[in-house]
Amino acid sequence: MKAARIFWTGFVLHFKNLSASPFMMTTAAIWPLVYATLAFLMFRATHQAPSLLYAALGAAVMGIWSTTATSAGGAIQQQRWWGILEILVAAPTRLILVLAPITVAIAAIGVYSIGSTLLWGRLLFGVPLHVSHPLLFAVSIPAAVLSIGLLGLLLASTFVLYRSASHLSQALEYPIWTITGMLIPLSLLPGWVGPIAWALAPTWGMRAVRRAAIGGDVGTPLLVCAALSVAYTILAALLLHHFERLARDRATLSLT
């Protein structure tokens, strides 16, 4: 209960802080439109309305991941620049409860991209916005956001120790949205990509969002997405515990 309170307070603070950044908001709302335009032009060739919605949702979730990949690492580094990382580490709260709200808030900022992408698709490309299971759609969106935020947390845990590790998450931007089937269906990718894709929670989050909108079994991908998200959280907690001690030993908390 106390942990949930800390998480929620942190999430609200960081969401508010990020929303107050014009750069962040512009990036979150406009960047995905580029993906969306490319996706619409590619998928329009099939002349099938569901394909356009499939592409629209893929582009929107790509926007969430792009924001997270580029900002999660930057966010930890930014806490360092602001001189806050040391204060956060010096607090008696476990580091996982301090950092998880930051990466989840960043992913949540990406939700703006869903609105802008769907609106863009509707106005410019006539994408139908009919959703098969509105309730499940409403559940699968936060599940996908949370899974992306927690994958961001897993990557961000290394940023506490390694100042340059944020470049790693930026380098993972394209591979992740390719492997998780955000734009290209997994069936079109080589077979060896499959196991990697299944280990990534956003794959299942994306699948849940699409099935809730277009039709199909939503429960299974939602459950797998939740299970993987829990696994990421546990792994991130272990890594953070280890990296925090190393950072105290190597004196990297205050370095910029």
Binding site: K2, R5, I6, T9, G10, L13, K16, N17, A20, S21, W81, W82, G83, I84, E86, I87, L88, V89, A90, A91, P92, T93, V98, R245, R248, D249, R250, A251, L253, S254
Partner: protein, 320 residues
């Protein structure tokens, strides 16, 4: 309340681009001291002396390379989380706050991180805002705050959870004189409220005005410890001669230092003139030999005065 025993910290880094050579920097070399309950203890020293490294080991942000430290009887390495619950940490400068948010948002967040329960939060935030003189300004964004206001907000954040021990790392650095005076008042209030405070500063008058006891650090070692009066007494049997000069060079200063009976020489730059502060043994009258060494240099006012804490500091640090 605070105990450091032979505390050492070495930083390991490397130099070079292609052929990297390991480099070790000994920032703290065997520091020992103890701070009693309700005491305001000062760590005084020049930049790079090891003050901040010492404080960071005590607040659990850095692991000591060797030695031991305990805060409220708890080991700073083994019982880090327990120590963190009971201490407050405030550092100087502009950073360390969420600028785009209000002071209230900042305080609410840190209250949560420091385990201040929901019911007590509102009351405690009001109390600390009142204490640091920011009541009525808490809804404004921090980016609009002056440096002094930010520093007072830092103190409010550091004492939100009502810690028994507060660590203040150069809290008045960069703050204007009026703001610094207000901050010193706030630090005095912390002592009145029963807190134990460890303060680092390189402002002599600040240490003199606030601290019950002072440890002077230079090059990672404690070179003097005592009350401000005791430290001053260490140079009280000496004399201080101040000589105003125009265009003194390093070689001349070295010649003055080499004179028999001279214990320390400091040079204060004032635009085109310099003030030579020369400490000498009490029994020696050295004004004439000193002036003889300044032959060919324009000399202005010459005078002597009682030693201050700054003179004690120069005598202690200058020897290192």
């Amino acid at each position: 309340m605070i105990e450091a025993i032979e505390l050492c910290r070495t930083y390991r880094t490397s130099t070079g681009v292609l052929r990297r050579k390991p480099l070790e920097v000994e920032a703290v070399r065997g520091i020992s001291f103890a701070v009693e309950q309700g005491e305001l203890f000062g760590l005084l020293g020049p930049n790079g002396a090891g003050k901040t490294t010492t404080i960071k080991m005590l607040i659990t942000l850095l692991l000591p390379t060797s030695g031991q430290a305990r805060v409220l009887g708890r080991d700073v390495v083994e019982d880090a989380r327990d120590v963190r619950k009971r201490i407050g940490y405030v550092f100087g400068g502009d950073r360390g706050l969420y600028e785009r948010l209000s002071a209230l948002d900042n305080l609410r967040y840190f209250a949560e991180l420091y385990g201040v329960s929901g019911k007590a939060q509102r009351r405690r935030i009001d109390e600390v805002l009142e204490l640091v003189g920011l009541k009525g300004r808490e809804s404004e964004r921090v980016e609009g705050y002056s440096r002094g206001m930010r520093q007072r907000l830092h103190i409010a954040r550091g004492i939100l959870h009502d810690p028994e021990v507060v660590f203040l790392d150069e809290p008045t650095i960069g703050v204007d004189p009026v703001g610094a005076r207000e901050l010193r008042g706030t630090i005095g209030d912390l002592i009145s409220a029963g807190k134990t405070v460890l303060l680092t500063t390189h402002y002599m008058f600040e240490a003199d005005a606030l601290c019950d006891r002072i440890a002077v650090i230079a090059k990672g070692r404690i070179v003097g410890e005592g009350t401000p009066a005791e430290l001053k007494a260490g140079v009280a049997d000496g004399r201080v001669t101040e000589i105003e000069v125009f265009g003194v060079d390093d070689a001349t200063v070295e010649r003055l230092r080499a004179l028999e009976g001279v214990t320390a020489v400091a040079v204060e730059e004032h635009d085109q003139r310099q003030l030579l502060v020369v400490q000498t043994a009490a029994e020696r009258e050295l004004t004439a030999p000193l002036l003889a060494q300044l032959d060919g240099i324009a000399v202005g006012r010459v005078g002597s005065r009682e030693p201050t804490l700054e003179d004690a500091y120069v005598a202690l640090v200058g020897g290192e």
